[in-house]
């Protein structure tokens, strides 16, 4: 409700149309251009070219994951800590297709996404019978069930993992195809989130997150809305898993199922602004940026996870609406970030 009212408020200020449409379009073009030409721009940094591209890829990956998570966790208000499952499904689906049938993961991407979506649909049918904290607990149980299964499933290499053949590509440009694949994935995920946010479906999800009983009374089929939101949120996470897994060339269950993976999606969405389209993007860029900076400055250490936790706690206490959410509330959200 609040979101709707606020939007009406914005419309009220301008008698013609929502202000900032142009600046949003400019931002979009600049952002797309930056993503598209980043591998070219980065060429002068040849010493650390692979590293820079890797960081770029990771940023895009987390934008995709966090934006996807936001569909169920932000719009519908159902916080899932089990989305690592879909990351794994995508990664393993594409990995198995490559290892057993020789299909390039790049061609298999849509199917990896669909596989994740199918699992998401089924898992959603079960877990979404619960609400609130019970749902969160159910998604954790789901994560551990899948981890246990994958850890003991010989066909996919169990806990020791599955080796994939390397991508045949000049080694100094090796990261480039992965980067572009991930760019496609991120753009797709953000576009999906945008479309959902601007659809009747998205409005229904927001109604559910505000007051589910009222939403139901208003004639929204809350069950199917939630299940579809869950399934949709799995798609691009699966795609991201396929690309990421291929880039690692070695798939281990813990890489995908680690609770820290799920934690990051949540963290980024919350920092950026849960339930906003731009929020997860801002959150992902910020967290990966700060993280890479910290790793370069202080080295990789266990303290990383401490910071993740600390930022989450501080954000919840002092900043529960996230950057985009807080700025919007105080009316200072720059138009180029207002994608809702």
């Amino acid at each position: 409700m609040a979101v709707v009212e606020e939007r009406e408020g914005l419309l009220g200020e301008s008698p013609f149309r929502k202000p900032g449409t142009r600046s949003r379009r400019v931002t979009l073009i600049v952002a797309l251009g930056l993503v598209l030409f980043f591998p070219l721009i980065a060429i002068p940094l040849f010493d650390s070219y692979a590293y820079v591209l890797q960081v770029g890829m990771l940023m895009l990956m987390w934008i995709a994951m966090s934006s996807s998570w936001n569909i169920i966790g932000g719009f519908a208000g159902y916080i899932s800590l089990g989305h690592g499952v879909f990351f794994a499904i995508g990664g393993y689906a594409a990995g198995l297709a490559l290892a057993h049938w020789g299909i390039s993961p790049f061609l298999f991407l849509p199917f990896a996404g669909l596989a994740a979506m199918a699992v998401g649909f089924l898992a959603g049918l079960i877990t979404l019978r619960t609400r609130g904290p019970a749902f969160i607990v159910a998604t954790i149980a789901m994560l551990f069930l899948f981890l246990l299964w994958f850890d003991n499933w010989e066909f996919i290499g169990a806990s020791s993992g599955l080796d994939l053949p390397f991508l045949q590509f000049p080694v100094q440009w090796l990261k480039v195809p992965f980067y572009y694949a991930m760019a496609l994935c991120a753009i797709g995920a953000v576009y999906l989130a945008y479309r959902v946010a601007h659809s009747k479906f998205g409005l229904g999800l927001r109604a559910i997150s505000q007051d589910e009983t009222k939403a139901e009374v208003a004639g929204i089929n809350t069950r199917w809305y939630k299940v579809w939101a869950f399934a949709l949120s799995a798609f691009f996470i699966g795609v991201a898993g396929a690309i990421y897994g291929y880039s690692l060339t070695h798939l281990r269950p813990l890489t995908f199922f680690a609770i820290a993976v799920a934690a990051r999606m949540v963290l980024m969405a919350i920092i950026g602004g849960r339930g906003t389209v731009a929020g997860p993007v801002v959150g992902a860029i910020l967290i990966i940026g700060v993280n890479e900076f910290a790793v370069r400055q202080f080295g990789e250490s266990e303290l990383n996870i401490v910071f993740t936790g600390l930022i989450l706690v501080l954000a919840l206490l002092f900043f529960p609406q996230g950057i985009v959410g807080s700025l919007r509330k105080s009316g200072r959200l720059p138009a180029f970030l207002d994608w809702d």
């Binding site: 208000g77 916080i79 800590l81 079960i126 877990t127 019978r129 619960t130 609400r131 609130g132 904290p133 019970a134 969160i136 607990v137 159910a138 954790i140 149980a141 789901m142 551990f144 069930l145 246990l148 003991n152 609770i259 820290a260 934690a263 949540v266 919350i270 250490s301 266990e302 303290l303 990383n304 996870i305 401490v306 910071f307 993740t308 936790g309 600390l310 930022i311 989450l312 706690v313 919840l316 206490l317 529960p320």
Partner: protein, 291 residues
Amino acid sequence: MAHWLQILVLGLLLGGVYAMMASGLTLLFGVMRVVNLAHAAFILIASYMTYALFEGLTLDPMISLFVTMPLMFGLGVGLYLLLFPRLEESPRYVEMTVLLTFGLALIVEGLLTFTFTGTFRSVRPEYASTSIMIGDLFVPTSQLYASLISFALLILLWVFLRFTKTGTAIRATMQNRAAAQIVGVNVRRISALSFGLGMSLAGAAGSLLSFMFPFFPARHWQWIALLLALIVLGGMGSIKGAVIGALLLAVASAFVTDLVGPTWSPITFYLTLFLILMVRPQGLFGAKVRL
């Protein structure tokens, strides 16, 4: 027959310890509607404290209970006062607490890894490797001790909740927070106290677990999944339910281990958790508690 009895006894012994771990968690949920995802991480803090005391001062882990319990009590009260009053206003309080304690779990895990590294640790007092034969029954001494202490603490908890004024106020707050406020219970004070109480139970659990199982910082995720399964089975917020759930599941998983091997025994917990949430989101015993 003797074989089955043996497994039943081992399951019940373990169940006693689980019951104490779970009662702390369910107490927190009952009083404050906090699903404390960091509960197992806090248990691990106590395990590492016990480890440090044993390695440094050769202090018996069962004696270190007297150190870990009060320290964890203080930590609990402090954390409560620092973090939770801020969240109380939030319209999505319960979800916020889940995320908040999730963050706390990450912090604890990271700090423990940083301090003690990620390698396996265990505390090995003499009784950790001995056993007693009762008739044909084989009883590991460590499990027996741990179980006895757990049951003793559970009885103390029951007496406290049942017969003291503060304990009654805690039960009242669990049953109806608003009504407790109406009759003049300072629910914030009771909440802080309960948080401390739950944490001191986690402290005791950590000391006991330290000589029962090897541990490492990331171990707490397995433990929390197990504990959640227990309290969900028992109906969140019901201590009686948590104890029954713990005993049932511990015995069940002992039989699963015996039948299909130890790899699959955790699945008992996750599957139970999953299934119970599907069939009865309110748990088996807690009909009144809304999630």
